[in-house]
Symmetry: C2
């Protein structure tokens, strides 16, 4: 599950993605079928369709094209950005200081980060009950225009009985990071029952013991959920030496434009990069070039938040990603 | 849960639905709020929108209207009817006799009835895996045109290991009623894993013991599900003296047309009719008349299949429904 999103854009000049030179196929013991194992083009969901922005014809009737790789629209039509503008920050902070406080766990804070930067667009805050129930029952949210957006995991904030009591009739609450910092405001809140068993059963299709997120996050959580509109007082940072990798969707889109990407293919992973990953990435790039794309860009997208206890730690993985992408993949086989 | 659907259309001439004369309000001990308890018009989901069919203008430019109460389209656009035409029956029967046989339980047979008459339109048979997974995860089926149809319960047929073995590579199978009758063919079948725990968790949001349908139907069922296109060799009947109440959706639509209904309001129930039901039915009719409908028709729709063990038996309920609707509701309060 992606909670904190760590991002690293590889550069095609550094990462040699030509499978003929980069990877010795002899090092694989598995035989690959020459026939496609896919019923349909497996790239379709990965490739963001390219779109050429056509400038208005000039008076000389010449038409100029600009490759614009901000690409597909975000779910719901526009990218959510819930970080308070600098100019309003001081006023919001003093407003928040007078509100009832809700203490966030480390994982709550990561979800606030996810929501605030628009990773969960069109979600504008922790889910209210109508959104929560749609997510549980339909794995989707219905937009005002009737269209559906996939949201198969409830993104919710729990509070315990004591916090619910303390909030009382207050409409807005302030959210406090584990270190005590005031980080956000949740507006027009709604408090509703946290039916943990139903949440678990409908999300995982089982209530068997041993699910890490259930045991570490849901079971110890409060009996209530609080939904509302989120305003983050400043961008959420972790101060772990890795924040420069954590680009927001907005920053990524700008970067894709700057590089004039006509396709972006994303590779999300929880482990160090290994040869199997490299094969997939190289093969995807090859297919995109064969399909006529001129400048496909790889988005390497390691998960930084809640991973398994025995996973390689994030800082080690980022170091490895950084090394292999800058050194080129040949070294992986040596 | 509605498995076998029993139908009884009340006649407005027999059932006096005028609340002023039919029901003595003094007999109620509960005080009703004068303010609506609904956030929106509670009738909206019940009322099938009326549609006037406009004949082509005649040469004299007069436009004639016909009230047509087949009303809204069935889910998926057209009413499914999977009963084999009489002319093809003999050939299909001899074809079916050569196929591997799957023995149905009483409840399987009721589902075959539901599917064959189009109650589960657009479903054309027991669910294949893609339909089953959509139902479990999205409570809906996606049509070819991208539209969604609500189907929140998987309608599936289970087979055990022995039956799966016996079916082997056969594409089509014959379905046998509990009494040994050959009742249907399932074509272009697909056999897939019956993950009972996931089915239960995603359908009910709990895996707690004590759910009657789980304990009586799912737990003892086979480890495999078989989906395919259904062909019912003749209309499914129960020979319990109640078959004349069991109108198909097609027959109902014809009846609504014959009565020139401009609205149909349905009342589905598992119990004998009581005063609370009568109040709801009368109130609905009153609101429809106030909304401008001229001839709203009540569809009284008792559930006949899987009900709770301590429910009033179906034949007793049908007798009661028949008595109260023909005698008029005044007698209920006496």
């Amino acid at each position: 599950m992606s909670l904190t999103i760590e991002l690293h854009i590889t550069t095609t000049t550094h990462l040699n993605l030509n499978p003929q030179t980069a990877i010795s196929k002899r090092s694989y013991s598995i035989q690959f079928q020459s026939k496609s194992i896919y019923h349909s083009n497996p790239l379709t969901p990965l490739v963001l369709s390219h779109r050429k922005m056509c400038a208005l014809p000039s008076s000389s009737s010449k038409v100029s094209f600009t490759v614009k790789s901000s690409l597909i629209d975000p779910d719901g039509g526009s990218l959510v950005d819930l970080v308070v503008p600098e100019s309003e920050r001081a006023a919001k902070i003093s407003e928040a200081e007078a509100m009832p406080k809700v203490k966030l766990t480390k994982i709550d804070l990561e979800w606030a980060h996810v929501i605030s930067e628009g990773w969960a667009s069109p979600l504008k805050g922790f889910m209210r009950e109508d959104e929560y129930l749609q997510s549980l029952h339909f794995n989707s949210l219905r937009m005002k225009d009737g269209s559906l957006v996939n949201l198969s995991l409830p993104i919710v904030l729990s509070v315990d009985d004591e916090a619910k009591e303390r909030i009382g009739e207050s409409i807005d609450v302030a959210l406090i990071a584990p270190n005590g910092d005031l980080v956000a405001i949740l507006r027009r809140t709604e408090i509703y029952k946290h039916n943990k068993e139903e949440r678990i059963a409908r999300t995982w299709g089982t209530t068997a013991p041993g699910l890490p997120y259930v045991e570490e996050v849901i079971t110890p959580a409060g009996n209530w959920l609080i939904g509302g509109d989120l305003e983050v007082l400043k961008p959420i940072k972790y101060n772990d030496g890795l924040d420069h990798y954590r680009l927001s969707p907005h920053q990524l889109r700008r970067e894709f434009d700057r590089r004039q990407a006509d396709a972006v293919f994303a590779f999300q992973l929880r482990n160090p990069v290994h040869n199997g990953h490299a094969l997939l990435m190289n093969d995807t790039r090859r297919r995109l070039l064969e399909s006529g794309y001129k400048n496909p860009i790889l988005l390497l997208h390691p998960l930084g938040g809640f991973t398994k206890a025995d996973d390689v730690p994030l800082d080690v993985r980022m170091e490895q990603h950084s090394k292999v992408t800058f050194a080129g993949p040949r070294r992986w086989n040596s």
